[in-house]
């Protein structure tokens, strides 16, 4: 019988060596009639879970292996025979990685010897020389009868002789030979791609590659018969492949995961501890008594937790959250298990189950033994404290971060392949500018047409073709932002660990999909900027207004807050601040918390592409009847008026209406969650539609339902996530509504985050009646602070020194320290006492921070500073010390500085603070704009429907969402407010250059009102950025008289582009 097992296969997790994915390799192995395939990537097990999954799908058995490239000599292949040997291999790799640092591995022969027990090892020889004999002897001594030597046909001169000599030598040294094929790709056609990745690895072009090209031929998977023909002289060596496969029976299924132990009281079982903590927590959450319904829910949940034995998981999350609370780090849980009553009373989330009737059906699914999923968001600036605590508490050998496989996307693939094929850099950047990095098709014909590129060019065509093949291949491993794997036993028994680029962090070789496939527990410790902002806001509230609140105690269901939200007055708040969200708010008209949950979930690419938004809105307005074809559907979709908006609902629809098993529904969910998976949701189409029709639904309805569900393929939100986000959105809106001053200061101190720049945040606060005070050398701290105004309950925001571009925190701190006893009197005084470099003082002066305290205009302050040196002269310091007043170092004739025009001050404000408290830059141009027939943005937004208007403004945001079919949304701003522009694809193409390059845009368009939402549909656009350059020479209210001179630098407004 022609039996053969391929043992030496490199997947593309041998980064930039292997050219095929595990899926492809196993599919090809199955097609060739192999019964098992050994994956041996270089110094890594990163691809082994993917291979495990592929093996399960194809029925070809996986032989877990690894190729060790030793620093002091040969390469050997090792295959663990059992679980213990696998653990030893993991430890060996962890050791090598720890020694060599990130993405490298340094192992030597003695390390292998120390971990050799239970491994089958195969030496990869080159020539049958003394060196080889020595290595064979070492193999024999170390591995005994588990030592083998590989015979591989290279298709080079004297090959048969080489194999013959090797075989003889092995016999002489009493080491068995085994045939391998050293596979690098699944099918012969992949050879070109393999050459290209070799180029990328060596960072050379294909023309320079020369002998570094992989020189041994035929590295694809061959049929057993072919192997038998090629190695007809070595039948025993062929038979030993099967023998090794039989010896190596280890499977990843044997890896049993154990939760880390959490015991405050060792006498209690985890379940008992959890119950105790839960009831304690419930008592403190509900001081006036736990409501009956909550007691019932908690009991139900605890019972479920006991059945599933999830108590340790909840305890772990609880201790992380408890630690964060002890350090007063704000956090908020989300994820399927997070919005349970247990999590609420433990303080993991702040969504009160007694007040909000959420669907908790997917709390933990009993059908699938899958670990629950809780993600916890922390303040982004202090998350590192929590992470280090986890490492220390659970031990660095028991806790590590997941990795993230960085894969080639369209852009990266094109750049690297282009470089390898020697295309010029600027051609590549031009091509790259045309495609979005998420594009799944790479460069398309229309991109080339647009650039007038010639596809006849061979290299260009090859590049595009190979780049498409390379897309999706892993490039390297990176660390997951916060996904922790915690175990009870040593983690390096389960998976190799490597040190991360950041010190004091370590990363396992597998990513979160791998972890999920093996059913390990993962806790996501994520960073959320808005939590930092909320923490700062609540602290300020306690300090200045004596109001002590946290996320759970913020007054809920406050009508004034909802009124504000309905007006879309939500700039700066969480989630509901984006342009799309804002335009939806007046239509959705949220009145309760659940409305906000819907709002957060509905403005996502998923529901938008699934066409769920408009039906939902119509039903909410009552203009379309809410009807359910069956009671089953009503149970699932009742809360969302018959329109599926959440992932859980999609799953329930599949189960209830189409007869999916929970397991299948879970597959559906997975394919919806990550679009990277090939095939998407589409392969479930037939099953879903047929299932629904069989259950008595109309085929059209079934089709429509499927299309809706398919929309989730891009992005859908689970209800529990939406609820957690909605809570933060509500809390931030509440703060903005009742305490705009506090909110503004907190938001400024948490920058950069969110959609809006400080300039817009400050403008918005001013419109809400908050007094904003300029940066001042005598009054500002590093952060923006609150100052009393004299009016009851209203505070003024004093802008902080952190807004000054380029100023370091250390210098600002020195300055604040120096003025603690008494404020500075003059620039000289400040310079002598603060002991801050002149460069830092100059930055402060450029930001005009000396005007409020010393009455010095920007220019005068800079002039004074220019005359100073970094160190005061000691003689003068000594002289000054004796007196109460300061002796200036020199007296000089006064210099008459030309005062800066008002426009110039504005330009300088923008340049050094990115904002101004003076007039809006556009106001200086208003005279000319009026003459040109343009109205202000406010006037335009208040115009009647379908009126033609012309407006001009600074471009704040350009957005071209993938879900909007080429429509571009632009927000422009002038001194009166903002205007929302809509550009249809045709107009966009005509005005492409203007729209993409303008800082200051003048447009003509037609007003379109839909209820309270007003858009300006652009018909023509003009770039008038050049006018910005003249602002710095203008005075307010005067027409500009052009002087022929060197043009002063204008303002550069960095518009923020979003997709």
């Amino acid at each position: 019988m022609n039996s053969y097992v391929e043992l030496q296969t490199s997947s593309h997790f041998s980064f930039l060596r292997g050219a095929s994915s595990c899926d492809d390799l196993f599919a090809q192995a199955a097609a060739c009639g192999l019964t098992a395939l050994g994956i041996a990537d270089r110094n890594t097990l990163a691809g082994i879970v993917r291979a495990h999954e592929a093996a399960k799908a194809t029925g070809v058995r996986l032989i877990v292996g690894c190729r060790l490239d030793l620093a002091d000599g040969p390469s050997i292949l090792v295959y663990p025979t059992d679980r213990a040997a696998y653990s030893r291999l993991c430890r060996l790799l962890s050791l090598g990685k720890k020694r060599a640092g990130k993405a490298k591995c340094h192992l030597e022969w003695p390390d292998v010897v120390a971990h050799s027990e239970g491994q089958v090892a195969v030496l990869i020889p080159d020539l049958a020389d003394d060196e080889c004999a020595f290595r064979l002897r070492r193999m024999r001594d170390c591995f005994g009868d588990r030592a083998y030597m590989a015979l591989t046909l290279r298709r080079r001169p004297n090959e048969q002789l080489r194999l013959h000599e090797l075989s003889n030598l092995a016999t002489q040294m009493r080491v068995a030979t085994v045939v391998t094929n050293d596979v690098l790709f699944d099918i012969p056609d992949r050879r070109m791609l393999q050459d290209v990745v070799t180029c990328i690895r060596h960072n050379v072009t294909i023309d320079e590659l020369g002998e570094r090209r992989e020189r041994h031929a035929d590295r694809y998977i061959k049929r057993p018969e072919e192997m038998h023909r090629l190695f007809g002289r070595y039948p025993e060596a062929l038979a030993r492949t099967v023998q090794i496969a039989d010896r190596c029976r280890f499977s990843l299924d044997e890896l049993a995961y154990q939760y880390p132990e959490e015991r405050d009281d060792p006498r209690l079982t985890p379940q008992q501890s959890l119950e105790q903590l839960t009831w304690e927590g419930a008592a403190s959450r509900y001081p006036e008594g736990v409501p009956e319904s909550v007691v019932a829910t908690i009991k139900h949940e605890l019972a479920l937790i006991e059945t599933m034995q999830y108590a340790p998981y909840f305890l772990t999350v609880n201790s992380i959250v408890r630690f964060a609370r002890s350090r007063e780090i704000l956090c908020q849980g989300r994820g399927s298990a997070a919005n349970s009553a247990v999590c609420y009373v433990l303080g993991i989330t702040s969504i009160d189950p007694s007040r909000n009737d959420l669907l908790f059906e997917r709390f933990v699914s009993q059908e699938r033994a899958e670990p629950p999923d809780i993600d916890v968001d922390f303040e982004h600036e202090r998350r590192e404290i929590v992470m280090q605590w986890i490492f220390e508490t659970y031990g660095r050998d028991r806790a590590a971060l997941c990795s993230t496989v960085i894969r080639y996307r369209a852009k990266g693939a094109l750049r690297d392949v282009g470089k390898a094929l020697g295309l010029p850099e600027d051609l590549l950047s031009t091509l790259n500018a045309q495609i979005s990095s998420w594009s799944e098709n790479g460069v398309e014909q229309r991109h080339l047409d647009e650039l007038r590129l010639n596809l006849e060019d061979r290299r260009l065509r090859l590049t595009l073709d190979l780049a498409r093949q390379l897309m999706g291949a892993p490039r390297h491993l990176s660390q997951h932002p916060g996904g922790f794997v915690l175990t009870h036993d040593r983690l390096d028994d389960l998976v190799p660990i490597e040190p991360a680029a950041m010190i004091d962090r370590q990363v396992i070789e597998w990513d979160k999909d791998d972890i999920e496939a093996l059913k390990f527990m993962k806790v996501d410790v994520l960073a959320l900027g808005m939590l930092t902002c909320m923490k700062r806001g609540l602290d300020l509230l306690a300090e200045h207004k004596d109001i002590n609140l946290d996320l759970a105690t913020i007054p809920s269901e406050d009508p004034r807050t909802y009124a504000m939200i309905r007006k879309a007055d939500t700039l700066g708040t969480f989630q509901i601040e984006s342009r799309a969200q804002m335009s939806m708010l007046p239509r959705l008209k949220p009145r309760t918390f659940y409305d906000l949950v819907v709002q957060v979930a509905i403005v996502r690419p998923g529901p938008i592409q699934g066409n769920m938004v408009h039906p939902y809105l119509r039903r909410r307005e009552g203009s379309e009847p809410v009807e359910y074809p069956t009671p089953a559907l009503e149970r699932v979709l009742g809360k969302t008026l018959g329109v599926p908006l959440f992932q859980e609902q999609a799953m329930r629809v599949a189960i209830e209406c189409a007869g999916f098993t929970p397991g299948e529904a879970d597959m559906l969910r997975k394919s919806m969650a990550t679009f990277k998976h090939t095939g998407g949701v589409s392969r479930f189409k037939d099953k879903l539609i047929n299932g629904m029709v069989a259950n008595g639904y109309a085929p059209e309805f079934a089709e429509q339902t499927f299309n809706q569900l398919e929309g989730f393929g891009s992005y859908g939100f689970p209800e529990s996530h939406a609820a957690s986000f909605a809570l933060i959105a509500y809390a931030s809106s509440w703060l903005k509504c009742w305490h705009p001053d506090v909110f503004c200061a907190a938001l400024l101190n948490s920058q950069p985050m969110g959609f809006y720049a400080p300039a817009q945040i400050i403008r918005d606060a001013q419109q809400h009646g908050v007094e904003i005070r300029p940066v001042c050398a005598n009054a500002s701290h590093w952060d923006s602070t609150l100052e009393p105004t004299g009016r009851e309950g209203q505070l003024a925001v004093r802008l902080g020194l952190r807004l000054i571009k380029g100023l370091s925190n250390a210098h600002a701190a020195k300055l604040v320290m120096a003025r603690a006893r008494h404020p500075f009197e003059t620039v000289d005084d400040l310079w002598q006492r603060a002991n801050v470099p002149i460069a830092a003082l100059t930055q402060i002066a450029e930001a005009d921070a000396f005007r409020p305290c010393f009455g010095l205009a920007r220019r005068e302050a800079l002039w004074a500073l220019r005359g100073l040196r970094d160190e005061p002269l000691p003689l003068f310091v000594a002289a000054s010390a004796d007196r109460t007043s300061l002796i200036p170092e020199l007296e000089e004739p006064t210099v008459q500085l030309r005062p800066m025009p008002e426009g110039g001050e504005v330009v300088q404000d923008y340049r050094h603070l990115s904002l101004t408290l003076r007039a809006h830059p556009i106001s200086f141009l208003r005279h000319e704009l009026r003459r040109a027939g343009m109205i202000t943005c406010l006037e335009a937004m208040e115009s009647r429907n379908r009126r033609w208007v012309e407006v001009a403004g600074v471009v704040l945001v350009r957005q071209r969402p993938g879900s909007a079919k080429g429509v571009m949304f632009i927000t422009i701003e002038d001194e009166s407010g903002i205007a929302n522009l809509v550009v249809w694809p045709k107009v966009f193409e005509q005005n492409r250059r203007t729209i993409l390059a303008s800082g200051l845009l003048a447009v003509r368009g037609r007003v379109q009102r839909e209820g309270e939402v007003v858009h300006l549909v652009v018909q023509r656009a003009e770039d008038i950025s050049s006018q910005l350059a003249t602002i710095s020479r203008r005075e307010q209210g005067h027409a500009f008289v052009s002087k022929r001179t060197v043009e002063p630098a204008g303002i550069r407004f960095a518009a923020r582009d979003f997709r």
Partner: protein
Amino acid sequence: MPAAKALALIPGLLTDDANAVADAKELERLALWILQRTSPIVAVDAPDGIVIDSTGADHLHGGEQAMLEGIVGRLAMSGVTARAVVADTWGAAHALARCGTTATFIAPAGEGPRLLRRLPLEALRVTPTLAAKLRPMGFETIGDLLDQPRAPLTLRFGPEIALRIDQALGNVPEPIVPIRSPDVVETRRSFAEPIGAAETIAKYVGKLVVDLCERLEARGLGARRLDLLCQRVDSHTQAIRVGMATPVRDPKRLTRLLCDKVETIDPGFGIEVMTLAATIAEPTDRKQIASSLIEETATDVSDLIDVLTNRVGNKAVYRLAPVASDLPERSVCRVPAMSPETGGSWPAHWPRPARLLQSPEPVETMALLPDQPPVTFTWRGVRRRVRCADGPERVFGEWWKRDAEAISVRDYFRVEDEAGERFWLYRAGDGENAATGSHRWFLHGIFG
């Protein structure tokens, strides 16, 4: 704006990289051109100007206005747009030329300060960084600076401003260091009686070479190229040119190289003047001759190469160098005879034939597919029986070079016939897939 963005905005935009070195070189060439025509004192005013001291030269061109118009007009004809200004000082002329509106302008004597007042301060030849510091202070024109007391300005911005103002106003002198044209090392000889006989020409060539070599030595140069120009009595010029692989100033060698070509000179009715110029000369290092007791000296073959090259042409003398390519015919390339070693080598452990045929020759064979060596083959009408063979060595086409090579494969075999002769054969194609080649056999090389 980055070039790629400009390209995206304007499709089909032609772009060219800035080349500061070449610009400076061209500017210097332009200065030399003006030196020859306008005035003996000319200097480059980098990066974009030329300064001319026209004192005493303007009347040669019909006055200042005519001189300026002449310069600008001539430059315009050669495609250079220029502005020319006459002023009292270098500084003033520099400023007015860059900020003026007319192509030519003559500043009346003594009017400098008044005219300068309104110009932007960059015109004062202050560094851009200094100008960037002055502007935020509200200093925009030269006049703004002239009005201020000097001491506070110097304290804050250093002495540069005062110096530049004084230079522009003529308070301190600013001499112009004129450029000189780089001269060609040459020597000439005129004859009282025209010469014609080849021996006579050769004799004088020898004398000229000795003279030239002395001049070269005085400058530490060696000639890479010599041009010998012979002016005949009928005003025709005959020329011969020789090139050297390395800089040479050995009279014997140069004489021999030139005399090899004397035959090509047609003296006509006689030669009056002979000029020998080293049109390309490069510095030579003086090197101590190593004693043969200490070390072997490498044999210098550059002399031989020069002789051969000058006789048979530049392309005909070359060396072979390895190229890292699996295709045998691409694994060699020609390099100039004296070029340094590339450092590459052919794989020593893979036997390659001593002789590679210019192009593979088709042979008739009997062979088993897919990968057996031929049993017999017929080359150039001789049928040979294969006694032993090794192979195949599988060589893939270089797919990035041509479409035809995308999947092409050659299987090379080393075979020995019954007479003990060894040949290098290949089959186009891998023996299985017809797309990889025609599956015909070729002989590509001969061992031994």
